[in-house]
């Protein structure tokens, strides 16, 4: 039975090979996707270079502040560019929708700025062409066009009757067509990844990123297998090629275009994100009207002062062994950071809730499960961006507190208002260490999406298998 199935598959592949229009279409799509990967890789290389230059210039500007009041340096701040992900050439994911740098300063946590999506026009709403997009949207359509008439329609039905009369079982015929279509789809994935590989390798990818690319390829193979099985099943279930095509096109449009667009809109309604002014007002209210180094009237600050005075048994802050200005700045930074962290974590929790809610839509669209998987392993999902944001925030806090501690440890010289220090020297040991998410963490977070894809695959193959007996009866 196995070899007979392979025999049918070989015949089907020959028939598909003869259908040159489809072959040319597939090649054109591959060419476009390959060009997209190559140009994206070139763009990403440029971005890497630019961000490196920006980081160097920011470091230079920071170090050239010279001998000043350390707290002034906290207000000068510096920008920390986001890392460029090499696999973004294959799947840009959210790269265009998240900020590319964070401006860090004292007292406040700023959101990432300079989103590539900013400053566009009406055409910008049509963006997103990439190799991943091709595999998510166009490849299923090619599979449908290649397979909808495999067993439906007058010509295919006549051939099918002849095959059944010659002693072939319906299961073998369905299985053979599925294997043929899946082989073609698998080839498409392999060629697409193969075309992308040189451009990605040229950017200097790590071993983990190559494993990520393999994980992406595997998920796309599963995804396309779903479409292969559904196409074969529809072709077997509907005698009319037209009906099979209409049903399959409907499934394609709903699962690849409509649901991935509707799902986020529904989840935004169910778990609304606050507007920027609303979020900022809430944070400002808590952070700035709470303890603030610039507001000595603050009650908590008074309590801290009183506690310090009591501990050192003095009645005036001037008599304290430390510079009270620095202590208050340090205390205020700790409090404002806690407030910002709390609010930002609430915001990220909303994003996460939206992603979980979106996952429910994967029950009617495998693309909804595939997209986050692909983005996560490409390092272009929100999880990867969040890792960058948290790394930057950790750096910001250490940097600002180092400056505040310098103020606290040094009282101004007699007759001077502030203690001055060389900023480059006192912050030399505070280094920004970008964090990365390990593959196991990504795999753990994406396990539900893989499970959904596997369920889809099993269900689709079961549907194709179930269509075989029906095909035998009807033909």
């Amino acid at each position: 039975m196995f070899f007979r199935t392979l025999g049918v598959a070989a015949t089907q592949l020959t028939l598909m090979w003869r259908e040159r229009r489809l072959l040319w279409l597939a090649l054109s799509v591959l060419l476009l996707a390959g060009a997209s990967v190559a140009t994206s890789a070139a763009r990403l290389s440029g971005q890497t270079e630019e961000r490196r230059a920006v980081a160097e210039e920011e470091a230079l500007l920071w170090d050239s502040q010279g001998v000043i009041d350390p707290h002034d340096a906290a207000h000068v701040g510096r920008a920390v560019p986001a890392p460029v992900r090499p696999l973004a050439a294959f799947d840009p994911g959210l790269s265009d929708f998240v900020g590319t740098s964070v401006f860090i300063e004292g007292h406040a946590q700023n959101p990432a700025r300079h989103r590539p999506i900013e400053g566009g026009a009406a055409l910008s709403r049509f963006g997103g062409f990439s190799a991943a997009w091709t595999l998510q949207i166009v490849a299923p359509l090619l599979i449908i066009l290649a397979g909808f008439a495999a067993m439906s329609g007058e010509v295919a039905r006549t051939r099918l009757r002849q095959e059944l009369a010659a002693g072939a079982s319906a299961s073998v015929l369905v299985g053979g067509r599925l294997v043929a279509l899946a082989t073609a789809a698998g080839l498409l994935v392999i060629v697409m990844i193969g075309v992308s590989l040189p451009a990605i390798l040229l950017q200097g990818v790590s071993e983990a990123e190559l494993v990520g690319l393999a994980a992406i390829g595997g998920a796309y193979a599963l995804y396309l297998l779903v479409f292969c099985a559904v196409t074969v099943a529809a072709s077997a279930l509907f005698a009319s090629a037209r009906t099979a095509l209409v049903v399959l096109l409907g499934f394609w449009a709903v699962s690849t275009l409509l649901v991935p667009r509707v799902a986020p809109a529904v989840t935004e309604t169910l778990a609304p994100t606050p507007s920027a002014p609303e979020f900022r007002a809430a944070v400002t209210e808590e952070a700035e009207n709470g303890v603030d180094g610039h507001d000595p009237a603050d009650e908590r600050l008074n309590a801290l002062r009183d506690e310090l005075l009591a501990r050192h048994q003095v009645s005036d802050v001037e008599d304290l062994p430390v510079n009270f200005r620095g202590v208050s700045l340090e205390f205020a930074e700790e409090n404002s950071t806690a407030t910002y962290n709390r609010h930002f974590e609430q915001l990220y929790a909303v994003y996460h809730r939206q992603e979980v809610l979106q996952r429910a839509f994967a029950s009617i669209s495998p693309a909804v499960a595939l997209q986050p998987w692909s983005r996560a392993f490409a390092g272009t999902d929100f999880g990867a961006h969040l890792t960058y944001l948290r790394g930057v925030e950790d750096y910001r806090y250490r940097l600002v507190q180092t400056l505040n501690q310098e103020v606290a440890a040094n009282k101004p010289p007699p007759g001077e208002r502030y203690h001055l220090a060389d900023i480059a020297t006192i912050t030399r040991d505070v280094v920004y260490a970008p964090r990365t998410v390990s593959l196991s963490e990504v795999a753990g977070a994406q396990a539900p999406n893989l499970a959904i894809l596997l369920v889809w695959t099993v269900l689709a193959i079961s549907l194709a298998a179930a269509s075989a007996p029906r095909l035998g009866r009807r033909s």
Partner: protein, 455 residues
């Protein structure tokens, strides 16, 4: 056979088709949800603007007024945050409204970056943003063509399959007008109710401006007409309905999804957006350098102490002079950056004339007031407001006069001046592009009309 008879027959046949009401009900459901989404977005934007205005008011009546009342030795001006409010037709399309700031912060001595420095970007979920907004514009641009194609793709191929074409061609009638009348009849039955559905849900969502609704209707009809013309040409070329369905799907994918997406990729390649990150750092470096130079100059050449001392300290005049000098120094750098941004945007804008789906998206954005041009007009007007504030600041410095409470209370706030309207030049250009595209397809269809007689 008169045209009316053909049209009547076509209309009756289509009305008997059970798929049509199902499609229209589906369109109604999706449009209603999209319009509700649009209305929800408007409500959120208005709430955000309300918060900004409340914060403004608190400053104006609180700290700001308090400083003026106690004759603080400075020029205290009513600093406000200009806002770009949604228009009456805003529920129609979110467009570019998330991609540009809708508020700014003016300050007389603020530099170029100050206007939007403290304005936070849109913090909506990037996953939601990447998927794109499900608004009425999406329904019109992406889904309406599918409804039209689903009901018209077998305009002539269906007749071929049923043998009706052979019978019609045996009559003394020209095939061209027959197909044209059939297309018009189907357009009447599909496009007019679809337009009515879209207008009704737009009005239900709050987009009730009569001129705006008229422009919306024209845009939908022009775009629908374009797709009817596509259906005509497909029916001429495709022999079988299955072929016609595949062709219709392929053309939809090409016109609505692939070509715009590839065009954007081409623009990114030909005219990449100038790096905002690089610009910000370069600007900061130049500002730091200039500020240091000014500081050293002031240290070496202190402003002579005047006797009697002016009411507003000369220190403020020095700050003002330094700020003006800095802006003058930075102007070429800013102008070069803006030129690069404008060149790219101009290219993006021009591309729409060759892409019908982008033209209608642009028209809907403009009707809704969520287009890039309106956002840029806001930026420009906010910059002008900042400049006016600075000139006002200077006049008080020159006169050495403090702002009085009466002056403070009666200073005009920022008011965005709308230019154009629902039928602004951009919308008319979009409509013209759609009409030209439709006419070109009809000319091609006329050249191919001989194909219709091949059975």
């Amino acid at each position: 056979m008169s045209s009316f008879a053909i049209a009547g027959c076509e209309v009756r046949r289509l009305l008997r088709d059970r798929a049509l009401p199902a499609l229209l009900i589906l369109l109604l459901g999706l449009s209603a949800y999209a319009a509700w989404n649009g209305a929800d977005w408007v409500q959120e934007r208005e709430a955000a603007i309300g918060l900004i205005k409340a914060a403004d008011q608190a400053w104006l009546t609180g700290d700001g007024r308090h400083f003026v009342a106690q004759s603080y030795p400075s020029v205290i001006l009513p600093i406000t945050q200009p806002v770009l409010a949604p228009t009456a037709m805003a529920p129609l399309s979110v467009g570019q409204a998330d991609a540009y700031p809708f508020t700014a912060e003016t300050f007389p001595l603020g530099d170029y970056t100050y206007l939007f420095r403290r304005v936070w970007a849109d913090i909506g979920s990037p996953t939601v943003r990447a998927a794109g907004r499900f608004d009425l514009a999406f329904v019109v641009v992406f889904l309406l063509p599918l409804v039209i194609l689903a009901t018209t793709y077998d305009l002539w191929s269906g007749e071929r399959e049923r043998g009706v074409a052979a019978m019609v061609l045996s009559q003394p009638v020209a095939v061209g007008p027959v197909i044209a009348v059939k297309a018009l009849a189907r357009g009447l039955v599909v496009l007019l109710p679809s337009t009515a559905v879209i207008l009704a849900v737009a009005a239900w969502a709050g987009a009730r401006e009569p001129i705006g609704l008229m422009a919306l209707a024209l845009s939908v009809l022009a775009y629908g007409g374009f797709w009817l013309a596509i259906a005509v040409i497909i029916s001429l070329v495709a022999r079988r309905s299955t072929e016609a369905a595949i062709a219709a799907g392929a053309v939809w994918l090409l016109v609505v999804v692939m070509t715009p997406s590839l065009s954007l990729a081409a623009v990114d390649l030909a005219a990449p957006a100038p790096s905002e990150m690089r610009f910000a750092t370069d600007l900061k470096a130049r500002t730091t350098e200039m500020t240091e130079r000014q500081r050293l100059y002031r240290e070496a050449n202190p402003t002579p102490v005047r006797v009697p001392a002016p009411r507003i300290p000369d220190r403020l005049r020095d700050v003002y002079a330094d700020r003006v000098a800095l802006d003058r120094e930075l102007a070429p750098m800013i102008a070069a950056h803006q030129q690069a941004r404008d060149a790219r945007r101009h290219l993006l804008d021009t591309m729409r004339f060759f892409l019908p789906s982008v033209a209608v998206q642009d028209a809907l954005d403009r009707i809704a007031g969520s287009d890039a041009d309106r956002a840029l007009a806001f930026e420009s007007q906010a910059r002008t407001a900042q400049l006016e504030l600075r000139l006002m600041f200077k006049s008080y410095l020159d006169r050495d006069a403090l702002v009085t409470l009466a002056e403070y209370d009666n200073m005009p706030g920022f008011q965005f001046r709308e230019s154009g309207g629902a039928f602004q030049a951009g919308v008319l250009a979009d409509l013209a592009a759609l009409v030209v595209a439709t006419l070109l397809i009809l000319v091609a269809a006329r050249a191919l009309r001989g194909q219709a007689v091949v059975l």
